[in-house]
């Protein structure tokens, strides 16, 4: 087995291991479809500080990473991505009592990992 293939397997194993860092989340695609079983992924919610015109500004960075293959295998159509238009519903991810909208997405097809930057959402 090549190292790249091993890396993809290792990534999926880390992202899908609920005994370690992964936790369950519910993914909702714009047409309302949700998989029968919640997905597994690694979430993050950290404080950030950045410079906006030489003024320190704080914020929060909420992220979610999951295996690319797991999304399609669960029956979803396409990959979660930003939906800027207001006419349609966005991709949503929910865990821990909070719901988030996919603000931006960065699929890594080399390692088979899909990382999403999320923003707060009121369902």
């Amino acid at each position: 087995m090549s190292l790249s293939a091993q890396a993809r397997i290792d990534a999926a194993g880390i992202l899908g291991n609920a005994a370690h860092f992964a936790e369950t989340f519910v993914l909702t695609q714009p047409d309302g479809f949700e998989s029968a079983e919640p997905l597994l992924g690694i979430t993050g919610d950290i404080g950030i500080s950045f410079d906006a015109d030489n003024q320190p500004v704080t914020g929060r960075r909420v992220t979610l990473s999951t295996a690319l293959g797991a999304i399609g295998a669960a029956g979803y159509t396409g990959l979660p991505e930003s939906v800027p238009g207001s006419a349609g519903k966005p991709w949503l991810a929910a865990w821990g009592g909070s719901t988030y909208k996919v603000k931006s997405a960065a699929p890594d097809r080399t390692l088979d990992v899909h990382t999403m930057i999320l923003e707060f959402y009121e369902p």
């Binding site: 950030i48 906006a52 006419a87 519903k89 966005p90 909208k101 923003e119 959402y121």
Partner: protein, 226 residues
């Protein structure tokens, strides 16, 4: 040549400068008026009177922090003193100096993406801009109202003008929040006064001003001389 030691002021400097008073007054005007506007909106039967509510802060370096725990969505107005230039053509070097200063009044609002029961959703960035524009509208109208032509400081402020307005989105692309900010630069012309010296009478001169029978004005002075 011997250099005489410096002379010191006789009185303690224990008053605020006009720039501080003006910055604080801008904050007071906004803080009082938002409460008034909510009351007026309630009396007018508006469905959401608290849309006229905003929180006022002075000289905060990071007002967005108030939104971090997501318990507050009321827009924030941050009043800061930017600085100014002294106008040498107005005032004098002894008593009073005229200053053209700028008070920054920054409006910050958050927007959260929401489901639209009628279909689709309301994007958070659009909502943040709308919330911010609503409050910035209140700020501009309040400060530029005729009532506040001298910021209710007629003995200090001679003029105020809206110098500029700037809209921006003070957030990182990775931020879970959607923020919008509108900065309103208020130009204020006012005077600063400086400590005075009580003069020491050197000589008394008495002068009588009289008019003669033919209308001529004459002066008669009494003084001692050696």
């Amino acid at each position: 040549m011997a250099i005489l030691p410096a002379t010191v002021l006789a009185d303690l400097i224990d008053k605020r400068d006009s720039s501080e008073i003006i910055r604080d007054r801008v904050g007071e005007i906004l803080a009082v008026e938002t409460v008034n506007q909510v009351a007026l909106a309630t009396a007018a039967g508006k469905p959401s009177p608290n849309d006229w509510l905003f929180r006022v802060f002075l000289e905060r370096s990071n007002p967005l922090e108030i939104f971090m725990d997501r318990t507050v969505e009321t827009p924030v107005v941050n009043v800061t003193w930017e600085g100014g230039e002294y106008d040498k053509s107005r005032g004098n070097p002894i008593f009073e100096q005229a200053l053209i200063g700028v008070v920054n009044v920054d409006t910050l609002a958050v927007g959260v993406s929401r489901d639209d029961p009628g279909g689709g959703h309301i994007p958070g960035d659009l909502q943040a801009s709308r919330n911010c524009e609503f409050t910035a509208r209140l700020v501009r109208n309040i400060l530029m109202a005729a009532l506040n032509v001298r910021l209710q400081l007629p003995r200090i402020v001679t003029d105020r003008w809206s110098r500029s307005v700037t809209a921006e989105q003070p957030e990182s692309p990775d931020d879970a929040f959607q923020f919008a900010a509108i900065g309103f630069a208020l130009e204020v012309v006012f005077t600063e006064q400086s400590p005075q010296v009580d003069g020491e009478p050197l000589e008394f001169v008495m002068v009588d001003i009289m008019r003669t029978s033919d209308g001529q004005l004459i002066a008669e002075a009494d003084y001692d001389y050696t």
